[in-house]
């Protein structure tokens, strides 16, 4: 006695049909004995189920309420939680532990890989190519006289023929891919592009690229810091508009980190230290709030002034650009 309308009968008695549909089903119902029987049965079940009386004692109910209120005052309330919806996250702590393990393993792997890469590059630099350039021949003939321009702070600035460290000849040479100024910026003229190390051409190209990138980065950072120095509030006491500077700083941070890593890998202490002192300033600018006050800007500008970083950036970028031109 099943009819296509039986499902609609179920919806009809639940009031889940639209007015139009309900009228249509009612019309069908008047002429279909099967659906009439189904409707009667469904309604009969409804009566039976809804008239089911729970065996509940009022005293038990009162007792339950007392216990709930009592227990809740005994125990502190906990943070609201969503009721469990079917699928539970019982494995979550294990999954988190497993994910952490994978992350740690990946990190270690990355560090080992970087270290291996650095070793390879230093080995390549120590053992030059079989057909070295004339300068390399000289360098290999007199290794102790290699004029490595390692700008140690102890060295007297302005001494072009500064002798290499004879005290510790076994110390590995600090390999530089491009010359950089010491922080005091006085011995610009003394620094020459590094020609003592013969490197494979690809490595040289990479060094050149990084040199260019660093120069560009220094220029951009310098411009940013100059722009930031000139930031003024439109009216006293009103927030300063530093949106442009903030965005630019955010972009430069990533580049700064990357270049610092390269400088560290190349053993270029000067560039690395300049980038390192630049990084917190970029971070501070990038993390300025939307409506930063004039005081926030002033604090950063004071630090820029104290570090004299704008001048250092300018000098270093110029030198790097010049060194690159010489290379070309």
């Amino acid at each position: 006695m099943s009819c296509d309308f039986t499902e609609k009968i179920s919806l009809l008695i639940d009031g889940e049909l639209s007015e139009y549909e309900a009228r249509e089903v009612q019309r069908h119902l008047s002429g279909c004995a099967g659906c009439q029987a189904a409707r009667a049965d469904f309604l009969s079940f409804r009566t039976e189920i809804s008239s089911y009386g729970a065996s509940l004692n009022p005293a038990v109910q009162a007792d339950a309420l007392k216990r709930i209120l009592g227990q809740s005052t005994d125990q502190p309330r906990v943070a609201p939680v969503k009721p469990k919806l079917g699928w539970s996250w019982n494995f979550a702590p294990r999954a988190v532990a497993f994910a952490s393990l994978i992350l740690v393993a990946a990190l270690i792997g990355f560090i080992v890989y970087r270290a291996a890469q650095n070793n390879e590059s230093s080995v390549a630099q120590k053992n030059p190519a079989p057909v070295p350039s004339p300068t390399a021949q000289i360098a290999s003939a007199t290794p102790e006289a290699t004029p490595l321009a390692s700008p140690e702070p102890s060295q007297t600035p302005g001494a072009p023929g500064a002798k290499p460290s004879e005290k510790n000849p076994s110390k590995p040479k600090s390999v530089r891919r491009y010359p950089v100024l010491p922080n005091d910026g006085n011995n610009i003229a003394n620094l020459q592009p590094n020609t003592d190390v013969a490197q494979p051409s690809t490595s040289a190209n990479n060094a050149g690229d990084i040199q260019a990138l660093t120069a560009m980065h220094f220029e951009k950072s310098e411009l940013l810091l100059r722009a930031f120095r000139n930031v003024r509030s439109t009216k006293p006491g009103r927030p300063v508009d530093v949106d442009y500077e903030r965005k630019l700083a955010q972009q430069l941070i990533v580049r700064n980190m990357m270049l610092k890593r390269e400088a560290d890998a190349a053993g270029d202490i000067q560039v690395a230290s300049l980038l390192e002192s630049l990084e917190p300033l970029l971070l501070d600018i990038a993390n300025l709030p939307q409506g930063a006050g004039a005081d926030d800007v002033r604090v950063i500008n004071d630090r820029v002034e104290r570090k004299n970083i704008v001048a250092l950036l300018q000098v270093n970028s110029t030198m790097l650009a010049r060194a690159r031109d010489d290379d070309d």
Binding site: E7, S10, S55, P83, K84
Partner: protein, 184 residues
């Protein structure tokens, strides 16, 4: 705090009996367990969500939590509870009209038996519809399922109950017929 408790008491008085009934039907007539779980659900509500949950949603929250408690009970070995329920049932004082009470009990037992045969999701949906008069949308909200699933579940539950009833009626008539033949 006092007004919060008063509000909670009102909600409790209004919904505790119906929650007990819902759980009792869901658990196949285990009244004591149903009362325990209803109490546990209200305790959970009072301790965790009360105050942060809109009052009109508290009801759905309660039914959802109560259903999850019931599901946990299904998963557990339930012999202990069944035995305990039987003992309590025997010890419970009877009403003064044993005939009427017997009839009511028979009917209730029949309803429970038929409901027990339904799959759990169909049973819950039907109970929420017939006892609590929740709309399909509200049932979907409680069970975290779509309205169309609720619609299908309720229809299937009704059809299954109908089939079960028809079989029972046929068996009853066949039995009565054979007894009649014997009597003759």
């Amino acid at each position: 705090m006092a007004s919060e408790d008063e509000e909670f008491t009102m909600l409790f008085q209004e919904f505790y009996p119906s929650l007990c009934r819902f759980l009792e039907c869901l658990l196949g007539g285990r009244a004591n367990l149903a009362q325990d779980l209803a109490q546990e659900s209200f305790l959970q509500l009072h301790r965790t969500a009360w105050g942060t949950l809109p009052v009109n949603e508290a009801r759905f929250w309660l039914y959802r939590v109560a259903r999850n408690f019931a599901l946990n009970e299904f998963r557990k070995s339930n012999t202990r509870y069944r035995l305990f329920d039987r003992v309590v049932e025997v010890m419970t004082p009877r009403s003064r009209n044993p005939e009427q009470e017997y009839e009511t009990r028979e009917r209730q037992e029949l309803v429970l038996q038929m409901l027990r045969k339904l799959p759990e999701d169909q049973r819950v949906a039907l109970l929420l519809r017939e006892q609590e008069q929740l709309s399909y949308r509200e049932i979907g909200q409680v069970l975290n399922v779509s309205e169309s699933k609720v619609k299908i579940d309720i229809f299937r539950a009704r059809t299954a109950l109908r089939e079960s009833w028809t079989k029972r009626a046929r068996a009853f008539h066949a039995n009565a017929g054979s007894q009649g033949t014997l009597e003759m």
